[in-house]
């Protein structure tokens, strides 16, 4: 239980994809200041990240390593994430037109999102057992979505302020992300 918990914490906080490893920053900043939109995007990105990471993981463990085809990893990972993204996008357009109208660009951008690929590459490094790796990818995806949520709320507060015109918008978001990642860097060494 403790190891499970600590693995999730490590994936979600200590090695947070967006704020510590600076992966998937495009999604991170493309999430609008509107909180509900950011929440939906967080959900969607989780729906892409977690399955893609799991499938990539299984592919690597069961197909590539036995056959010594690891040089194909990148292509396979991109293909998998693109496939999942495409599926998700089609489902959205057919079932949830409003969601599709709101987020179709972001979802399509996710197909080559560095977060997915990076997660698939990284999770192999530290841990050994396959289930733990699955847990790790769950934690990482959840952490990414959580940081999206946190940052959307933060961003709304920032936009409410009367900041100088030169810094309004992206510059201030970058400053805030920097300070937030300073805080998360402080967690380094935890597990």
């Amino acid at each position: 239980m403790a190891t499970l918990f600590s693995t999730i914490i490590a994936a979600a906080l200590v090695n947070n994809l967006a704020l510590v490893q600076l992966l998937g920053v495009s999604t991170f900043f493309s999430a609008s200041r509107q909180f509900s939109a950011a929440a939906e995007l967080a959900l969607l990105s989780f729906l892409v990240l977690f399955p893609a990471a799991c499938i990539n993981l299984l592919l690597q463990a069961l197909v590539l390593e036995p056959l010594n085809l690891e040089f194909l990893r990148l292509f396979l990972f991109v293909a998998v994430s693109a496939g999942i993204t495409g599926l998700l996008a089609r489902q959205l357009v057919s079932v949830f037109p409003l969601l599709a109208r709101r987020h179709i660009r972001a979802v399509l951008l996710m197909c080559s999102n560095s977060a997915v690929i990076g997660l698939s590459f990284l999770q192999g490094s530290s841990l050994s057992s396959l289930p733990m790796k699955l847990v790790y990818s769950f934690g990482a995806a959840a952490g990414f979505s959580m940081s999206l949520l946190l940052f959307a709320a933060l961003r709304q507060r920032i936009d409410q302020g009367s900041s100088p015109a030169a810094l309004r918008g992206i510059p201030l978001y970058l400053i805030s992300a920097g300070i937030a990642s300073m805080a998360l860097l402080g967690f380094a060494g935890l597990v």
Partner: protein, 370 residues
């Protein structure tokens, strides 16, 4: 008069003003400042003074640039409060440019880039401190104390003329005050927490048993007394209801519970004791003076409690399992990062509107009906 006729109700207000609130908080930091001066010499006071100077200058410059009313902005004392808290977290005997750098970072980048007082989402003092801690870990964890502050057997105190000169020399190395044979004890004691870890806590009782007075100058005793002083100041703030109880209580409770859960006599040297976690490092200061900074904290009682819990838990885990021992700054900044979301999710229930569970049940029942 005409303008007055067009203004809306209410016509009366309570007299306390923002600037006075800030002033009172600064007042509440005095006991801690006195105790730490008694134990660690003039370093802390000099830090505070220099930090306030730099901070005020920086803020005045920024107001001038932004075309705001300089005097009105400086008069709200918020910059002063930031400087005081910042200066008291910086180890005594730090060189001047570190303090200046941290203060400018805090005021310019963390406070005024967001639009000034009331709009910064992170605590300026802690952001400046963490910035320095990440950038210059060694300088930020080594304490340069006057000799007298080190050996508790020595009779002459660090509060004398020599101590002042030594502290000045630490702050401004280019000053020639360190001429004739005055040395500054360069011994880098990382933070008092490590020291007390070796002593496995409760240095006050140790001091009593070993027969030194309570005010014998020993770093760990001093540190615990400083924390007690912070606690007193915090109680003053609570008594005057300048801060609400939610954040300090929940933060301290979280730290206490964590340290109790992980307490075992055998592992005390590694994990520390509950006593140590409450009085060892800057816990009290963080709980009463830093986490409660209203601008960057959560508002609404439920959100405040969650905010305090988050800070307390991360405080303990960073200290014990993380690689930084002065974890308050990190934990508070992480709490600030979470605060807006907490405000949103744990907003208080409005009068006449169903609360969280009522809504949940209501939705579920409606779902059953439909």
């Amino acid at each position: 008069m005409k303008q007055r006729l067009f203004s809306s109700s209410p016509m009366q207000f309570f007299p306390l003003q923002t600037s006075q609130i800030m002033l009172l908080v600064i007042l509440a930091t005095l006991p801690a400042m006195l105790v730490s001066t008694w134990f660690f010499g003039y370093g802390v006071v000099l830090n505070v003074l220099f930090a306030s100077l730099i901070g005020l200058l920086c803020e005045a410059a920024i107001c001038r640039i932004r075309g705001r009313a300089v005097r009105a902005t400086l008069a709200d004392n918020s910059c002063l409060l930031t400087a005081v808290l910042f200066g008291m977290t910086i180890p005594p005997g730090t060189t001047w440019w570190l303090i200046a750098m941290g203060m400018v970072f805090a005021i310019a980048l963390v406070k005024h880039a967001y639009g000034g007082l009331g709009q910064n989402t992170f605590n300026p003092a802690m952001a400046g401190y963490l910035f320095l801690l990440l950038a210059y870990p060694l300088d930020m964890t080594s304490w340069h104390l006057p000799v007298a502050a080190q050996d508790f057997t020595s009779t002459h105190s660090p509060l004398g003329w020599q101590g002042l000169l030594q502290s000045l020399g630490c702050l401004f190395p280019f000053l020639p005050v360190l001429g004739d044979g005055l040395t500054v004890d360069g011994l880098a004691m990382a933070t008092p927490l490590i020291e007390s870890k070796l002593a496995a806590g409760n240095a006050i009782r140790a001091a009593m048993e070993e027969g030194y007075g309570l005010f014998a100058r020993r770093a760990e005793t001093g540190w615990e007394l400083v924390n007690v002083a912070w606690l007193l100041g915090g109680l003053f703030l609570l008594a005057t209801r300048l801060i609400s109880w939610h954040i300090p209580l929940s933060m301290i409770a979280a730290t206490l519970v964590m340290s109790l859960l992980y307490y075992s006599p055998s592992a005390a040297a590694v994990l520390g004791t509950p006593y140590l976690h409450l009085l060892g490092s800057a816990t009290m200061m963080g709980a009463f003076f830093i986490a409660t900074d209203p601008v960057s904290a959560a508002t609404g009682s439920r959100a405040k409690i969650a905010y305090g819990l988050i800070i307390g838990v991360s405080l303990y885990s960073i200290r014990v399992w993380g690689s930084y021992l002065d974890a308050v700054a990190i934990a508070v900044l992480f709490g600030n990062f979470c605060a807006p979301l907490l405000d949103r999710l744990l907003a208080p229930r409005k009068y006449g509107h169903p609360g969280f569970f009522a809504k949940l049940l209501g939705n579920i029942s409606r779902r059953k009906i439909t």
